[in-house]
Symmetry: C2
């Protein structure tokens, strides 16, 4: 039985979400993983799903999964989709291996500078022009996400080496992350 | 021993975060709760904390806490702070009661319309001008957050009746949420 990977990410909001999900599942299969894509979790009932039913289906899939690969590419703002962040936290609490990537190689501080700059320092802290502090840790996003991916010594977030043309759809970095997840899960299995 | 409440939220990024934290802890005390504010979790070591140390301190506090009150007020964009969303998911997975509020009474769909509109429908789905779907469930934010707060029948998100002057600092809705949390935790204790 291949390890099951919950595929968290805001690609569920793309008009071609079903096609992207199939591509992610195919990439998983190439590395011996069974991808669970949220949009495929419907109960087969007629009519649009309720938010409560979608929530319960996602929770059930996460409990069934052996690990998660979270797409933490910024979504409508400077940071990750909060739904995906919720799911990453959920899987960390379950003690399951978590993997993640972002298709935006720009550090969090630089994204905040672009959107809410200029930045200024005050003592130890860095502030944006919105008057709010910016975590100044050279991480890709909020430290809970970045450190959540580092915990367990699994190497942290995967990023492209350079900006990609279509960050919402690009799957190169996802594929690298899936290969890494496969290796880690195989090492755990053999341990 | 009063129930311990982890106080998740982006107010840690305010320049007056320490003062806001003290006010939140004082409001908790008024309702018989012991508030754990992330910024107070330092290990007392000299110098600025590392992101890894902050992460581990937050996880330890969440495991120690009996419940969480999450501030899900939008942060630098249309949705909640991803770090807070991570923590909400973490506490849901631990099976602890979760409570939450937002100081923005505007539904998620309307915030997306303001920032990324106009909206258009395509079949069952609603899309913003950025080409991405918008969850059309009349919820305050992403369904994982909204349903996470509803799970367990604890009533969902607390919102102000009308826009507030300073959403980053207003504590009226937090106080209502803390009072509710106190009642729920007392009922659980007596059950």
């Amino acid at each position: 039985m291949p390890p099951k990977i919950y595929l968290a990410g805001p690609e569920v909001f793309l008009p071609d979400a079903v096609a992207i999900g199939r591509q992610k599942v195919a990439i998983c299969a190439r590395f011996g993983l069974l991808g669970l894509f949220p949009i495929d979790l419907g109960d087969g009932a007629a009519g649009p799903a309720t938010s409560g039913a979608i929530f319960q289906a996602c929770l059930a899939a996460m409990r069934e999964a052996d690990a998660v690969i979270a797409n933490l590419t910024p979504f409508r703002g400077v940071g990750a989709d909060p739904g995906t962040a919720f799911e990453l936290g959920y899987m960390v609490a379950l003690g399951k291996p978590v993997f993640g990537y972002s298709n935006d190689p720009v550090p969090h501080v630089e994204r905040v500078r672009s959107g809410y700059g200029p930045l200024r320092t005050d003592g130890d802290q860095l502030f944006a022009a919105d008057g709010l502090a910016v975590e100044n840790f050279a991480l890709f996003d909020n430290l809970m996400l970045a450190e959540g991916l580092r915990a367990g010594g699994r190497g942290g977030v995967f990023l492209p080496a350079a900006p990609v043309a279509d960050p919402a759809r690009d799957l190169m970095t996802f594929a690298r992350c899936a290969e890494h997840a496969s290796e880690v899960l195989e090492a755990i299995r053999q341990a």
